[in-house]
C-alpha cells in the first residue's frame, strides 16, 4: 500500500513540473529562455512519471510476483534513459541552430558567442 501512496506523490510532482513547463512556453520572451523551461521542467516531470510507473510495477510485483512486472520495470528504465539523453541533446541542437540562424537572445545583458563570431574566431 505504501508503494501506491508513493506513486500518487510522484504523479503529483510530475503534473506540477509538467504544467510549469507548459506555462513557461507562454511566459518567457524568447527561444532560449523558453528552452530552459521546456527542457528542464518537462524532462524532470516525465522522469517522475517513469519513476511512478516503476514504483507501481514494484508494488504489483511484491503483491503478485508475476514476471511481467519485471519486464515493465526494465522497459520503463530504458525509456527514462532515452528521454534523459535525447531531451538535453535536442535542446542543445535547437539552441545552436537558432543562434546560427541569427536569432539574438532577447533582453540579453551579454552575448559572448556573438562577439567571438563577429571577431571571426569561433564556430563554423
Amino acid at each position: 500500500m505504501a508503494f501506491f501512496i508513493l506513486v500518487i506523490a510522484a504523479l503529483l510532482v510530475s503534473v506540477f513540473f509538467n504544467s510549469l513547463g507548459a506555462v513557461s512556453l507562454y511566459r518567457f520572451p524568447d527561444v532560449y529562455t523558453r528552452l530552459h523551461g521546456a527542457t528542464k521542467c518537462t524532462t524532470f516531470g516525465t522522469i517522475f512519471i517513469a519513476v511512478a510507473v516503476v514504483l507501481y510495477a514494484v508494488g504489483r510485483l511484491l503483491e503478485s510476483g508475476e514476471n511481467r512486472f519485471w519486464v515493465l520495470i526494465i522497459h520503463t528504465l530504458v525509456a527514462m534513459m532515452v528521454l534523459l539523453v535525447t531531451n538535453a541533446t535536442g535542446a542543445h541542437a535547437i539552441a545552436r541552430a537558432s543562434h546560427r540562424s541569427g536569432l539574438a537572445p532577447a533582453k540579453a545583458v551579454v552575448d559572448r558567442l556573438e562577439e567571438s563570431c563577429s571577431r571571426g574566431g569561433a564556430s563554423q
Binding site: S24, T43, A91, A95, R100, S116, A122
Partner: protein
C-alpha cells in the same frame, strides 16, 4: 566487437517477456547486431573505440554520478526554474567558459549535465573546447566554472577521459 555485443544484449533485454527467450529471437538478434556493426563500420571507418571505456569502475562511477550529484543538480535546477517561471525575474545572457576537456564523450557529458542543471543551457562549443552557455540569471559576465556548474567538469574528466 563492443558494438556487436552491446546491441545484441540490448535486443535480448528488450524481447525478454518474463519467461525465456525463443530461439528465433536469438537468431533475429544476431542478424540485427551484425547489421548494426556493419553500418557503424561503414559510417565511421577510422573511429577507434577506446578500450578504457570497458573498465567497470567507470561504469560504477557513472551510475554513482547519475544518482548522486547529477540527480541533486537536476532537482535544484527545477526548483530554480520553477521560481523564475512564477516570478518572471530573469536577466539572460550568453557567457563563455573554457573547461579543459579533450575527449568528445567528456564534452557531451558535460554539455548535457550543464543543460539539465540550474539556469544554464549549452548553446555552442567551438573547436578549442570553449563552451558558450545561455544563463537565465547572469550574476557575473566573466564567471568561473564553479559559479556555473560546481564540480561537474571534475566528474566529466574522471569518467570519460
Amino acid at each position: 566487437m563492443f558494438i556487436f555485443f552491446a546491441s545484441f544484449l540490448m535486443y535480448l533485454l528488450l524481447v525478454w517477456s518474463g519467461s525465456g527467450i525463443p530461439m528465433i529471437e536469438v537468431v533475429i538478434g544476431l542478424l540485427m547486431a551484425t547489421v548494426v556493426t556493419f553500418a557503424y563500420k561503414t559510417w565511421h571507418p577510422e573511429k577507434r573505440l577506446s578500450k578504457r571505456g570497458l573498465d567497470p569502475r567507470r561504469w560504477f562511477g557513472f551510475v554513482a554520478y547519475l544518482f548522486g550529484p547529477f540527480a541533486l543538480g537536476l532537482a535544484k535546477a527545477n526548483i530554480d526554474v520553477a521560481k523564475r517561471v512564477i516570478t518572471g525575474k530573469i536577466r539572460p545572457g550568453i557567457v563563455k567558459v573554457t573547461p579543459a576537456l579533450k575527449s568528445d564523450v567528456a564534452r557531451t557529458l558535460l554539455a548535457d549535465s550543464i543543460t539539465l542543471t540550474p539556469g544554464t543551457l549549452t548553446v555552442d562549443i567551438d573547436d578549442a573546447g570553449a563552451f558558450y552557455i545561455h544563463w537565465l540569471y547572469v550574476e557575473d559576465e566573466n564567471p568561473s566554472e564553479e559559479q556555473l556548474y560546481g564540480n561537474f567538469a571534475h566528474w566529466a574528466r574522471r569518467l570519460a577521459e
